[in-house]
């Protein structure tokens, strides 16, 4: 064990373990005879995850056109219809709106805001991580302490505070979550870049007199690309849970929005009489999050040469 870790925070969310522990760390010890079967099963899971992620992206892009009915049309006479009745595959909510249409339409809000949060957090985090790793020592120290401050409150709670101050809306939730999510990326990028800086090819480039900017662009950025791709994919699961959670609490998307978390909140008073209003959008969140995690794990094993060779 190396010197004690001095940082008071943890990477990010209760899902921190996902990033920290390679999910498929086992295969090395799998006996030869079972290898073929395992990798076939693994491949099926990978393809399945990719297909589901593809479907979610499709829903995000063209969901509103796939919706069989107007997701916002209120028809109180057709309220709380069970799935399969009256031409409503997933039933209707208390106001008689078609749940299927709402899930298809609301996916756009949920998924796009999740992706937006991750994009902003990854960009800001990468810039700050790069600055910390390649800048002078005091810059590193200051930036990392700022990260510690942001990581000193669970992101859900900090985002709740920021969104409450900005005023409840989906854009507030997105801003709030982006503000709380970047330090995880800053730490990740910093550690990868610091490792890379120790490598011989970087030393060689330096000896050749490569400028600092070129060193970062040509030699450091490519090395963090893979790590970032894996982390952003896995993070979709974590962010979608928090963003829909914020909507559920009431600081994110507001009624009558069909954002998935807001839909669950909308149906909570009817859960005993009309479970489908709650179950369907929640399943949409869970399925998306599962697929994103599996895809992230698959990408990790594919992109990491050490893990790939072990398979």
């Amino acid at each position: 064990m190396s010197a004690p870790e001095l940082s008071p925070g943890v990477p990010s969310g209760p899902a921190a373990g996902v990033g920290a522990v390679p999910a498929a760390a086992g295969p090395a010890a799998v006996p030869t005879a079972r290898r073929g079967r395992r990798s076939l099963a693994a491949r099926v899971v990978e393809v399945g995850a990719a297909v589901v992620v593809g479907l979610v992206v499709l829903v995000t892009l063209v969901g509103p056109w796939l919706a069989p009915a107007d997701p916002y049309r209120v028809d109180v006479t057709a309220g709380l219809q069970a799935p399969g009745t009256g031409g409503h595959l997933f039933g209707t909510d208390a106001e008689g709106r078609d749940v299927l249409s709402r899930v298809l339409t609301g996916g756009r809000e949920t998924v796009l805001s999740t992706l937006l949060v991750i994009a902003v957090a990854a960009l800001v985090g990468t810039a700050i991580g790069l600055a910390a790793a390649s800048g002078p020592r005091w810059v590193d120290e200051v930036l990392m302490r700022i990260c510690d401050v942001f990581l000193s409150v669970p992101s859900l709670v900090l985002a709740l505070g920021v969104a409450a101050v900005l005023g409840p809306s989906l854009s507030s939730a997105v801003i709030a979550l982006a503000v709380t999510w970047w330090p995880g990326y800053a730490r990740l990028v910093r550690s990868v870049v610091r490792d890379t800086l120790q490598l011989e090819y970087v030393a060689a480039a330096r000896v050749l007199g490569v400028s600092r900017a070129r060193l970062v662009r040509r030699h450091l950025l490519p090395s963090i690309g893979d790590t970032l791709l894996v982390q952003t994919t896995v993070d979709v699961a974590a962010v979608i849970l928090v963003i829909s959670g914020l909507s559920f609490i009431g600081v994110g998307a507001q009624v009558p929005s069909a954002e998935w978390g807001a839909m669950v909140a909308d149906g909570r008073s009817y859960v005993v009489t009309a479970w489908w209003i709650v179950v369907v959008p929640g399943l949409a969140i869970a399925v998306t999050a599962v697929a994103a995690q599996l895809l992230g794990d698959a990408l990790r094993t594919r992109l990491d040469p050490t893990l790939r060779n072990r398979r």
Binding site: M1, S2, P4, L6, P8, G9, V10, G13, P14, A15, A16, G17, V18, A20, V21, P22, A23, A25, G26, V30, R34, R145, D148, V149, F150, S152, V153, P154, L156, V157, L160, G161, V162, A164, V165, L166, G167, P168, L241, G245, F248, I249, G250, V251, G261, V264, A265, G267, R268, V271, W275, V278, V279, G282, I285, A286, V287, A289, V290, Q293
Partner: protein
Amino acid sequence: MLRFVLRRLGLTLVVLWGLATLVFLLIQLLPGDAARTAAGRNASAAQIEAVRERLGLDEPLPVQYVLYLGRLLHGDLGTSVFTTQPITSDLADVAPSSIELVVAAMLVNLVVALPLGVLAAVHRGRLGDLVARLVAILGNAVPVFWLGLVLQFLVGARWGLLPISGQLDREHRVPTVTGARTVDALLAGDPAAFGNALQHLVLPAVVLAAPFIAVVTRTLRSTLIGVLEAESITVVRAKGASPLRVVVRHGLRNALIPTTTIVGLQLGWMLGSTVLVESIFARQGIGSYATAAVVQTDTFAVIGVVLVVGVVFCIASLVVDLLQLWLNPRLRTAAR
């Protein structure tokens, strides 16, 4: 070693100061008049001016900042516009109920995650491992607020196994001493009420624990695998120790050190997650206080919760780091 402890303490203070500053900057972002927000929606012009005077909001920003830090140091988080009580005393009133829930959830977490993690590590690539992996993936994917509602519907309403909401049924009358109903029931010497309070605790605790089980299982699995591959374990095996003894006595003892860190930090995270769980089960607590404050646009109460959870989290991670030092002799040498 003393140097390490001092440095770690200093770092905690720096982070807490940073958190206070961050929150101060956040308050500056409040749209409109902070005095109006602090005084509440229906405040008269005179009340707003009184609040402005009291909080020093017409002073220049640096002065405001110093005044604000001073108030924080005195434990003054402002006044809730909804309950009209000091936010600190509001939070102190509801905290025991949250602590009760977090403790129960942590028990659920450990009781499920520890055996599962060991099973996954020992039976690597087999059924136990698969189950652990499934739990891990679902734990990171199923929204807790949704899980809460679904369990309410299935376990509570459909099967009628457990109470859906509240903390104690009406027929059990127990004086409120702490607000943690199990403790209150014990203090009142009422075993029936205690059992009833426990029943009310089960669903929320399971729901709150769900995402955390995944992380503990994974951490324990991967560290235990690493430990069991060490040469020392081979020696122990060669000496003829039983598999159980190898895993429990030699494997777990080492593998539990990183797991303790995670579990300690999770206490802070769990307190934060009560925001999603408590209101579903109509429980009193810091989380439901925050969600109610959001609905009431009681912004300073929400900010108060952010600060309190932050402080708890910082202290938890400090304790965890110091505990590590005590648990792991190798760190002690390194920190000397």
